[in-house]
């Protein structure tokens, strides 16, 4: 069987014990099953079993028109739904060679970045929870709640938005939304320090996460790890800068990378801290986009009633909160896509778990899993 990596483990041995972490376990972030071989507390091998949440997303898409697939993309990464919509819309527009109105571009960036903040907040909170700190989790949720309130005002939904459509967005910002978003940003920016005080620079937290679960840059690239996880390993790679889609090339922001400030480059602390720093960058982008947002204009490009892209295929990538979100769309000229494949960042991030967590303890594996920030809806699709 497969990649069984036998390892001679130092001097002392116990019997090998097989532990099933999940599917019913508090810190598997969904329904993930890890079959863990342990010796005492030390992990000798991990085999992830996924598919508990498989909803046949790709099979569904083969039976739906292009527009009808959008709500299904929501359900993949249910923490960062806006970005999923965004990625899908960009892919189809690329296939159709459509340009969307200027205003829509700004609106998309604003909601996508807001969603990125919400997603990162959840990631930070649950990582704290995984290493035993309960309070930061609720602090993060408190602030995430405000973003969800704004989204609710925007499109009525709090989790699965179906807001970004092909060629535009479902409707304009409601009256007062922009002001409320400014208010939120003013409220949120100082709160980032609060997380830092409570968790980031906590001695125990550093002990638990620094130097743990190091992913070297080359291993990360080989395993297709992207997004904040890859940046935590010290690779300055962000699609918003390196292969800009939408209008991301118009904004000024930094790409934080892991520096190994507390341990080695690419450890759990770096991955965590990259997300904290990204919160600030998101706020920067949203402020610029809000400032430049055109007042008037259509929120929908002129598209035919039935979307029939010409035959061909396209692979388009966008930067979701978890990394490179790719859509491979093959069209045969009809209004139903012949193949939609979603390349999910969490899928590849999880695939390196066995590689990086051998030799660590059970507690560390939970921390590593938390720092990778996986969403099972996206992995299983």
């Amino acid at each position: 069987m497969g990649v069984v990596i036998e390892q001679e483990l130092g001097t002392v041995h116990g019997d090998e014990m097989i532990l099933n972490i999940g599917p019913q376990h508090p810190s598997t972030h969904g329904v993930l099953r890890l079959k863990v071989h342990t010796d005492g507390e030390i992990i000798t091998q991990i085999t992830p079993y996924i598919g508990y949440l498989h909803r046949c997303f790709e099979k569904h898409c083969e039976n739906l028109t292009y527009e009808q697939s959008i709500p299904y993309t929501d359900r993949c990464d249910y923490i960062g739904s806006m970005n999923n919509n965004f990625g899908y819309a960009v892919a189809v527009e690329q296939l159709m060679e459509t340009k969307v109105p200027e205003k829509v571009e700004y609106m998309r960036v604003i909601v996508a970045e807001m969603n990125r903040i919400a997603s990162h907040l959840l990631a930070l909170g649950t990582f704290g929870l995984d290493v035993g700190a309960f309070t930061p989790f609720l602090y993060c949720f408190r602030d995430r709640e405000r973003i969800l309130d704004l989204f609710e005002m925007l499109c009525g939904a709090r989790l699965l938005y179906n807001y970004i459509w092909i060629g535009g967005v479902s409707h304009d910002f409601p009256v007062g939304w922009v002001e409320k978003t400014y208010e939120f940003l003013d409220y949120f920016e100082p709160k980032i320090n609060e997380y830092n005080d409570l968790l980031t620079y906590n001695k125990i937290f550093i002990e638990r996460s620094a130097d743990v679960g190091v992913i070297p840059a080359d291993v990360a690239i080989s395993y297709g790890v992207t997004g904040p996880n890859l940046r935590g390993s010290g690779v300055r790679w962000d699609l918003r800068k390196d292969d800009p889609y939408g209008i991301y090339d118009r904004f000024e922001f930094d790409i934080p990378i892991g520096t190994g400030a507390m341990g080695s480059v690419g450890d759990c602390w770096d991955r965590y801290y990259v997300r904290v720093r990204e919160l600030e960058e998101c706020v920067k982008i949203i402020r610029q986009a809000l400032d430049a947002l055109p007042r008037d204009g259509d929120v929908h490009a002129a598209l035919p009633k039935k979307i029939r892209p010409k035959a061909g295929h396209v692979y388009s990538r966008t930067e979701s909160p978890r990394g490179d979100l790719g859509y491979y769309i093959a069209s045969d000229g009809s209004d139903i896509p012949s193949r939609i494949k979603m390349r999910s960042p969490a899928f590849t991030a999880l695939s390196c778990l066995n590689e990086i967590s051998r030799g660590w303890m059970i507690s560390d594996v939970i921390a590593i899993l938390g720092s990778l920030d996986i969403v099972l809806g996206e992995i299983d699709r």
């Binding site: 035993g132 309070t135 602090y139």
Partner: protein, 360 residues
């Protein structure tokens, strides 16, 4: 209290004739209030824990309105509702478990903390059983509990439970040493193991206005207090030392397979142990039932008040820890104990000795 009851019984003619019976009766009568107090302590502490955590986390906590199914105003009946739920819950023993040990485990754990509780003085006179080696007795009884934990974890035949048991075995026994050693400094200064003498040694003032508590006696006892308190938190398995039941790692650790009433005794014992650690710390270092302003607000009732408030404060600090800190890892926990607390507690003993002989 045992003595008091014995004296009372000796005046009752039919009881005075059989000393054994009157002795048993006296101890039983002294024991029942202890149980009531333990239950009450758990009830209030659980409610406090919920509310304190809620306030620390910017939320409301249990907020039921009205009596009945809604757990009372401000959720004050939440714990009672929990108790009712626990007692009406189906009692499940896994088919593969070691049945005998599984049943015995909560008995050991609860009985250990109950018997330890019996030696607690709430003021100079109010103590269920006044042993002249009270401190040693409490330490001894406190360390029996770990057997219950190991049995519970082992007998469940569950991997999570086994991990919890193994961790707690390593953890509790390790932290017992610094806890015991740090208490030695107080015993050296007071020259007694009876709480009455230890507290009596702390009367008066130091530095003109401050109370003459052992925590303020010299720098080494000050360190010893913190060693004892942190080691005590580790011994009662609370965050940041809650590895045996680490919920994000081991689901519920050694009590994974326990539910209903059997589990509630673990719970009761945990809160009782918190009280014991906080109680020993306040008796030995914080002057027990003595008033913080020497010469004022003293007396038996005030004594009870001061003792309970000191203990409550320390329990609050434990809760504060729990809702602030992440959890340590097993090897870090051991490192902290053996490489930091153990040498430090040696230093406190030597330091107190030198201070007492030469500096003072």
């Amino acid at each position: 209290m045992v003595d008091y009851f014995l004296e009372t019984f000796s005046e009752i003619t039919w009881l005075a004739s059989s000393p054994n019976l009157s002795f048993v009766l006296a101890v039983t009568l002294a024991g029942l209030p202890i149980f009531l107090f333990m239950a009450l302590n758990a009830l209030i502490a659980v409610y406090a824990e919920r509310k304190i955590s809620a306030f620390m986390q910017d939320r409301l906590g249990p907020m039921g309105q009205g009596v009945g199914l809604h757990a009372g105003k401000w959720g004050i009946l939440q714990t009672v509702a929990d108790a009712v739920k626990l007692i009406t819950k189906e009692d499940i023993i896994p088919a593969t478990a070691d049945r005998k040990l599984f049943i015995i485990a909560p008995f050991i754990l609860f009985t250990a903390s109950f018997t330890a509780f019996a030696a607690f003085p709430f003021n100079e006179y109010l103590v269920a059983a006044d042993f002249n080696i009270g401190l040693f007795y409490i330490l001894a009884m406190g360390s029996v509990g770990v057997i219950g934990i190991i049995l519970a974890g082992y007998s469940s035949n569950n991997k999570w439970s086994l991990y919890g048991a193994m961790r707690s075995a390593a953890q509790i026994v390790s932290y017992e040493i610094p806890a015991g050693l740090s208490l030695l400094s107080v015993i050296m200064l007071s020259g007694s193991l009876a709480f009455r003498d230890i507290v009596a040694a702390q009367t008066g003032t130091t530095l003109a206005i401050l109370p003459n508590w052992f925590i303020l006696d010299n720098p080494f006892t000050f360190i010893a207090f913190w060693i004892f308190f942190v080691a005590g938190v580790a011994e009662v398995n609370r965050t940041p030392f809650d590895l045996p039941e680490a919920e994000s790692e081991l689901v519920a650790g050694w009590m994974t397979e326990y539910s209903g009433m059997r589990w509630s005794f673990f719970f009761l014992a945990e809160y009782a142990n918190m009280f014991i650690v906080a109680g020993v710390a306040s008796l030995l270092f914080l002057g027990g039932w003595l008033s913080p302003i020497p010469g004022y607000l003293e007396g038996n009732l005030w004594g009870i008040f001061w003792f309970i408030s000191k203990v409550s404060f320390l329990i609050f600090v434990m809760m504060w820890f729990r809702w602030t800190f992440p959890r340590l890892r097993t090897d870090q926990l051991m490192r902290l104990c053996w490489k930091f607390f153990l040498p430090a507690s040696f230093v406190t003993i030597i330091g107190v000795g030198i201070w007492d002989l030469f500096v003072r």
